[in-house]
Each structure stands twice: as C-alpha cells, then as structure tokens.
Amino acid sequence: MRVSILILAAAAALWAGENNSFLIRNATVHPVSGPSMKNASVLVIDGKVAEVGEKVQTRAKVKAIDGRGLHVYPGMIDAATLVGISEISSVRETADVGEIGEFNPQLRASIAVNPESEHIPVTRANGVTTVGVLAAGVSGGFGFGEISYIGGQISLMHLNGWTWEEMTITHGAAMQLRLPGIETRRRNPVTGQINPTPFSEARKRQEANLRKVATFFEEARRYQTARQANPGELKPDLRFDAMLPVLEGKQALLIPAASEREIRDAIAFAEQEKVKIILAGVRRPGAALEDLAKKKVPVILGSPFTPAQEEDDAFDATFRTAADLHRAGVKFAFASFGAQFARNLPYQAGHSVAFGLPYEAALRAVTLNAAEIYGVADRMGSIEPGKQADLIVTDGDPLEIRTQVKMMFVKGEAVDLETKHTRLYKKYKARP
C-alpha cells in the first residue's frame, strides 16, 4: 500500500496535467511585468506558469511547443465589455444587460453570460482571454440600464469554459454606479425619444436624484450597522447585503465619467461616501487629470475609436486621451464597452501609441493594468511564476493589425481559435 502511494506521488511529479501543462521553447517572451526575453521558454504546470526565462529546467515530462519565430504574451483583458451578455445589440431579446429599476446592487452579470455566444470565440481570436462583463450599459449600444443608478456587478470572466460558472473569475469585480447628471436632453428609455428639458429643471431633477442615491447609501449603511449589532435578528435584504463589500471598501464602484465635471463629481462622491472608485469611459478629463493622478483613481478608458465629444475638439482628441492619462501618471486600462468591436482592443492600444502613448504602457493597458484595477494581479495579467497560464502565442506584435494570434491558452488549456467567422469564411470560400 505504502509503496503504491509512493509510486503514485512520483508519477504525479513526472506527469503533470496533460491538458494544462506544456513548455514553449525558443520564443520571444513578453512577460509585461518585466523586459522581453529572446530565445526564452515558458513552462506551464497544471495550468500555472512554473518558470519563465532563457534557461528553464523541465522538471516534469510535458509536451514541448516549438516557439521559433513566435512571441508569447499574457492574454489580453477587455476591462469592460458586453461580450457574452448582449448578442445582437439591436435585438432586445438577445441582450440581458440593463435591468429595470434604480438600485440593483444584487445583480451579477456572470450568471447571464451565454457560454455559446458567438462573440466569445470572435473576441478570443485576437488575443483577449479575459473580460469584465458589464451588468448595465455604460455608453453606446442599446443604452439598456440608463435609468438605473446602481446597475449591478461587473463580473470578471475567462473567455473559456463549458458554463458561466467555469468562466467566472470574480462575480463582483466592481459595482456599477451611474451618478445622476444634468440631463437637458433626456432620452425616454422605452421610446428612445429625446425630450429637451430646460437647464434649471434638469438641474433640479439631478439634485433630487442625487438625494435618492445618497439616501440609498445611507440606508445601506444603517443596515450594515444594524446587522453588526444584531446579526441574527435582522430580516435579510438582498440589495443591502450586496452593498456591504462596497461600504467595507472591499469592492470598488465603477462610475462612468467622461468629462472634467463628471470626474470631479465622482471623486467628490467617493470622498463623501468613503468608498473606492474606478472611473469608466473617461474621454475629456481636462484639468481633472491631476485629481485622478493625485487621488490614485484608476480609469477604464473610453475607446479612442469614438467620435469627438465636442465640435471644437481636435481631430485626434480621442486618440490622445490615453497618452494624456499616462503622462499624468493615471493608471488606466482599455476596454470595448460593447461586444462587436471587443476584438479590436489591441488596436485601441496600438493606435494610442501612434498618438504619444509609450509602447510598454500600451501593452500594460491591455493586460496587467486591468488585473491590478480589479485586484486580481496576483493571478493574471502578466507571465510570472505562480500566475494562471493565460497566454497568447503570436507571429508578431499583437497591437499590430496584420499580426496573427496562433495559439491561446486559458489556465494552461489550449483554446480553439476557430470562430463563426472562420467557419463561414471556409464554407463560402470553397463554394464552387
């Protein structure tokens, strides 16, 4: 008996998990956390990076992948997306983003992610292994959830798995909050019609709505106190229970803030409520850039590939926002905020390089930064021993359009790079 256990133990050391252990040799490895290495290897054992470097000792018998002429990068992270939760943006029945109601902190995007969504393989094919799935739309798309203030929890998901459960990294990577603004052009969420409202009236409405938000936080805080005092007797409230991690400073609020004024309002709100925040969709930060840097508020940037906000914006204003944030010392990540262009995440970064963002910072903003912003950098975002082996193997710089992603691994498992698009391509290319 004892002998057989010993043999088994030895075998386990020798034969690491067949499906999630391998060695990539002779490749150029870009760990992101440190300098790139030529002729280097990455050893993956049981789904985790075991060793990276020019000389890697194979301790176990694993299959070897020849990486000559290839590059290894960490899988990219789309920090905020609708991939998996909205299939055809104009067909309501195919979208599960944006619930009805003003305060829905208890909702989690993860459980509404369809593992069979065609967007998953399509987004993967360009090197994205991980996404932050929004519970409520932030900008663009259908605009579902525009009437809610707390729209639910953004979930960090792997783009691989048989079920949403297998895909989920964290159910509540952040809590989505929309701060009421001064809406002089209110859109009816049902009819889509725009109702022009005088400024004074819009401001009164904003103040009333801000009081609503403050009241909700106040109630949640009282619930927290009551719960601490009488843990057994309090009738559970799912909404307030969901707010506890936010109030305890464990979960950040993700707040859309495009302009200088919105950024300042969001920072003021965070200080007043003593909560952590991440700003989303920043486009025209202006002088609030300094505040972001000083208060160390991380940012999920709006896509550079969106039209200018104001008529007198320079033609390249949206292309330069990333470089401006970088120069000011703000931590930021790129994101699609939608589904159809999620695959262009690397090009958001590449294009920003053409307009002043240093290359290393661009690469970080599609990998490690998002992991740090969501507090999972101990597990992902770079190629380092101990981290999950979320890797892509490419034939060149992944921020360049003409580069091809040749292989992908999620938690060390090889992922199929075929998509609905490659299937239709092959089918019709072969049409006689």
Binding site: I88, V190, Q340, Y347, A354, Q404, Y425, R431
Partner: protein
Amino acid sequence: MRMKTGVILLCGAVALLAQQPRQTLGQALGKKQPILIQNATIHTVAKGTFVGSLSIVDGKIAEVGEKVLAPAGAKIINGSGKHVIPGMIDCHTHIAVDAINEGSVSVSSMTGVGDVVNAEQKSIYYALAGGVTTANVLHGSANSIGGLNVVLKMRWGKDATGLVMAEAPPGIKFALGENPKRQGMAQQGSNAVRRYPGTRMGVEDVIRQAFVDARAYRQQWKSYEERKARGENVLPPRRDLKLEPLVEVLEGKRLVHAHSYRADEILMLIRLAEEFGFRIATLQHVLEGYKVAKEIAAHGAGASTFSDWWSYKMEAYDAIPYNAAVLHEKGVLVSINSDDASGAEIMRRMNTEAAKAVKYGGVSDNDALAMVTLNPAKQLGIDKYVGSIEAGKHADLVIYDRDPLSIYSRVEKVFIDGEEYFDRESDATGRSRFEAEKKGLLEKEKIDEKQRAPARRPS
C-alpha cells in the same frame, strides 16, 4: 444662452480660418508652385511600390519614378523614411450634409444631398487629417430608392461648390433590407408613420414599380421626340423629377449605390437590375456578399464593405471580416468604406481599416491599399483622375511617417490638387492659436455679460 451659441459659432469660424492653408505668392498669382517629393517610399497602387520621387505641376502629378528631375522653381519636400500613398477615397459617407434621409416616402429620387452640403462641418477636416481626399456622400438608407449623391473633395476652407468633384458621374442611393422595411414595421413605443414596404418582398416591389414607371416615362418622351421630329405639333410630357434620375439609371448615365446586407436581397437586386437592363455600380455594405460572390462578379457590380463590423443588427449577424478578401478573390472590385456621418470617426484611420483585409483573408498589402484608393475610384467612375499615383492624375497625396498599414503610422501631410491642405505641424500650432482665441472670446463674453442687462428670451 443665445450669446454662448454665438461664441461657439465664432470659435468654429476661427478654427476654420486657423486651419486654412496659407496662400503662397504663386497661388496668389493663380499659379501653383511645383512640388517635388524626394526619396520617399511611393505606393503608386497601380504600378508598384518603390523608393523614388514624384513631381507635381499645376495640381497634377507630372512625373513619378526612381529618379525625377525637379521642375523649375519647385518646392522640395524631403521624403526619406516617409511613405506616400494616393489620397484615400471613401465610397460611402454621410459627411458634410445638413440632412441625410428624406424618410417620408420610399422613393425619394427627386431629392439630393448635393443641395444641402455644409462646407463648415468639421468632418471634412477630420477626414482630411486622416488622409481621405475624396468622399462619396450618399443619401441615407431609410428608402428603397433614396436620393441623389454628391462626390466631394476634402478641400477644407472652400465653399460648398468648391468641394464638389465636378468630374464625378452622378449617382443615386438604393437601400434594401431592414432599414427601408423598418419604416413599415409597427414598433413598440414608436410614433413613426407606417408606410409601405414593411418586408423584403415589398422593397422589391417598390423598386420594380419605380422602374416600370421610369420605363413608361422614357417611352413618353421618346414618342414625343419622334413625333416632334416628324413635324407634328405635340405638347411635351409633364416633367417628373422623381423618374428622371431613374431614366438616367436605365440609360447607364447614373450610378446605383445600393445599401444591402443579406445574400437574398443582393441577389434580388442583381436580377431586378438585369431585368431592366442596367448594372448596379456598387453594392454598399454588402455584408453577406461573400455568399453570392459569384453572382456579384458575373453581374459586374462593385462591392463597398466594412472592415469588421458585425452583430449590431439581425441582418449583420452573418457578417464576417473576411468578406472583402473572399469578394476580392472571386473577382469582385472591392472597396472598404466608413459610412461616417458628421462624426467622421473612421475616416481618420481608413488606412488601418484596409490593413484588416490583410489580416482577415491574406489580401496583399497593395491590394488592401487599393481598397481605399484605386478601387473606390473605379467604383465611382473617377479613376481617370484620382486613386493612384500616376502621371496626369490629380495630385491628391498623403505622406505618412511609416508604412501606412501599420497601426503606428500617422499622416504628416495631405495634398489635394497639388495644394497642401493638411500638415501635422501647422495643425498643432494652429491648435494653440485657436485655444488662445477661444479663451479670449470667452473672457470677452464674461465682461459683455456683466455690462449688459440680462437678455430676454423670446417667448
């Protein structure tokens, strides 16, 4: 409030002035100074890529080659390390117009976007800064048969007439599928008037009926001309401005640019056009074109598609980024367009949209570049004048700091008709001047407001 609008308008006007190219002495005398661009990588698109030079005389390309002599008095531009491509041509836009859709009727061929050109829309400058020199401006897609098009050159600073590319043959917009039929569908919460057609069947019927009418109308005029020629005393038929453009289509004098998505509707329009004896110039968007590439090639229509859009509506769910490559491979003339309206977002980066045809389906670099230059020129019937770098063509050129298909490339200069309309450095300096001017105006507004009694709002 009213005052503020005035200041913004004024700022816009200042921006316009700041970004206008300065006149040289030669220009003032009505003569353009010749230009020589030296030692650049020249992507002629039509005749290869090489390191060489090109000269510009009187707004036209005079000579292109590895060694080119400088014309007398030429301004020399050192192009070493730089890349020169033909000015890009966008075959489908809605920029620089004050209205896009006349959505009240499903046949609106009596209208035209050429009547509502807004020469001050910033989209023109954005497109220019992105290296686009010519744009096909189309009516929207609300109607089965939309309005007439206009082809514009991005001559920022010129008035509406000055933007029009006079050499371009006229065209008209058609639209199939969800957009025209949407006008006929009852939508929850929508108070839009329902109208025929509401299905793809109805769209075909509306187009066929229009051409039946156009044919009859042409016959009326024909018999009138014949009888008049015989010396009979006859009254001319009543003119029909809706049918006249359709007669031009039947006679091959007006290009049809047909918005389409699904393979079924593409095939439908091809067969309908063949029934009436005309050829569709371009199928626009044509997202499922790859499914009927053979039929499109046989008909001889061009295809003007998106790089990688998909899934934003039901009829775009089978859209694939390989569409351009498949169509190209099967012998269809392919261009890639932006469909940009006043925002002109994609027009700022059409070069990298072309790069996607290389990525998805392995189109060669040169063929990909042709999809935003020479191919759209051919589709619009203006390839005699623009679309490639060849002697005799308009000197519409873009200078890049590196390979234009690289995501890291940036436009440095843009020429139209041999005139420099965009320069990155002047843009940067103009920007600070503009900011200072705007600040000054806002300051002035504050002072004015204090001095004046509160303005009364008209009731």
